[in-house]
Amino acid sequence: MKNIIIELLKDKIGRIGLIGVCIVILIALFAPVIAPYNPTEMFPQIRNEPVKQFIMGTDNYGRDVFSRIVYGARVSIIVGLISVGIGASLGIILGLLAGYFEGWIDNIIMRIMDILFAFPSILLALAIVSVLGPDLKNTIIAIGVVRIPVFTRTVRAEVLSVKSQEYVTSARSIGVKDNKIIVRHILPNILSPFIVQATLSLSSAILVEASLSFLGLGIQPPDPSWGSMLNESRKIMELAPWTAIYPAVAIILTILSFNLLGDSLRDILDPKLKNVE
């Protein structure tokens, strides 16, 4: 773990990604300290352009754009982490089962995953949210469910390749139980692609959250979310461009950081390069 961070810092792309991700996470953690105002507090100065008092201006209702972006980071990170957590943990369980036992278990799991995969992720998330009703919890569930097939497939493919390695046969040949083989010999050996997938998934989870909120089905106003901020600024974009530009920039930079981090992690964790000293 320590080595991975050192490697990341050595890599130019990894460094930028890691710093970006850290900044976003820190902003999310310390939102109440960083934000000058309550994100839902309305000031009489509506659509104020960026000045010293409101460094990113105010929106249509007189709320401070900067404070809303800071609190929006919190929403993005929470949604990203928890939904990827749900998707990853279910995906890893299903993937391990499908890959290790094959046969009918594999068939059932993978056909369900194929069905889930057939829907574009936003459409599927939209469908789930419209059934469950739009709020933070349901947004997280919807995005989590959408991520399950991605993880299941990655994990299953890796399990299949690791399973054919001789050390798995050799573990069986000394009498190790199936569940122990899975946990002790297969899981640790598929972790690298899994971590990469998780990092890249974070960025797309955040993006889906922003899209859902933009469409009005994610985080409900007045709670701040980058997507809903973009939606609110749609009508006043010409009057007050800062209400659109800053949330957009926040989304872009966050997604970019996560993607850069994921890319760099993929290079570092590539098993072909791993054992080179």
């Binding site: 050390y167 046969t169 040949s173 000394i174 009498g175 190790v176 050996n189």
Partner: protein, 324 residues
Amino acid sequence: MEELLKIHDLTIELRTKKARYNLVENIDFTVNEKEAFGIVGESGCGKSITAYSIINLLSTPPLYIKKGSINFKGKELTNLSSKEMRKIRGNEISMIFQEPMTALDPLFTIGEQLKEVMQIHTKLTDKEMDNKVIETLKKVEIPRAEQIVNDYPHQLSGGMLQRVMIAISMINNPKLLIADEPTTALDVTIQAQILDLMNGLKEKFGTSIIMITHDLGVISETCDRVAVFYGGHVVEISDVENIFENSMHPYTLGLVKSVSSLGQKRKELYTIPGVVPTYDQMGIGCRFYDRCVKKMDICKNKVPPLKEYSKGHQCRCWLYEEVN
């Protein structure tokens, strides 16, 4: 000598969606106590799956034991539950593999992997296990055993790793060791060392060995008796001396003839013409029919029986049957 393992009429079937094929058919052989038994044959002749079937390591599906019995110390292995089978694996019967580089988990140290076998089958304390690990590593002639226990597999050479594999398989004093081409992936000098080591261990631990290989040289160096496999049939079983001097089956004759040796000048190495038929092209007769130099009419449509022609020398060929 007492019988340790007796395989009788073993047939292993490959089930595909279209058809079912017998990959090995009517396998019959016996391994005695403290004996090294060789299985020799070309790639794809069924040596490995026969060995894998002994401790039920076949990948099921698509491979199934169709019929036959595998009797180990009076216990029928084909009827064991997977729990009972796990107790035997690595404890009474253990196995070493062809590729030492991939047969060890890259994420655990040598010591941890040696301990894993003991954790499963014994109730030793951590300290006792540590001692036994070092002791066993020394028995397989690994230098600096104390340091190597903390090394990872990628830090060791192939020869070293194969010694570690042997240590893992011997640590619980098994009755039977199955070695699936243990020297194929190693270079010649290391091969000789590993074979010496295994010979020595056989004496020291009183373990029986099943040595699977395609190299008659390995057989002559290590084994007491040998079974020759061809296309999923046992074609000849005999003492090692006999197989070289009095081989009966035309395939064995060809095999012995095609061994190259140093110091002999030959223009061309002898080869058996033709290739092994794939499992879906096997006829109903003798499986060596297409390549045999002494084929007769009867060979085409009828599989010859495996019969004992002189003491301890069995052969499956119509040549030696009274014409019927």
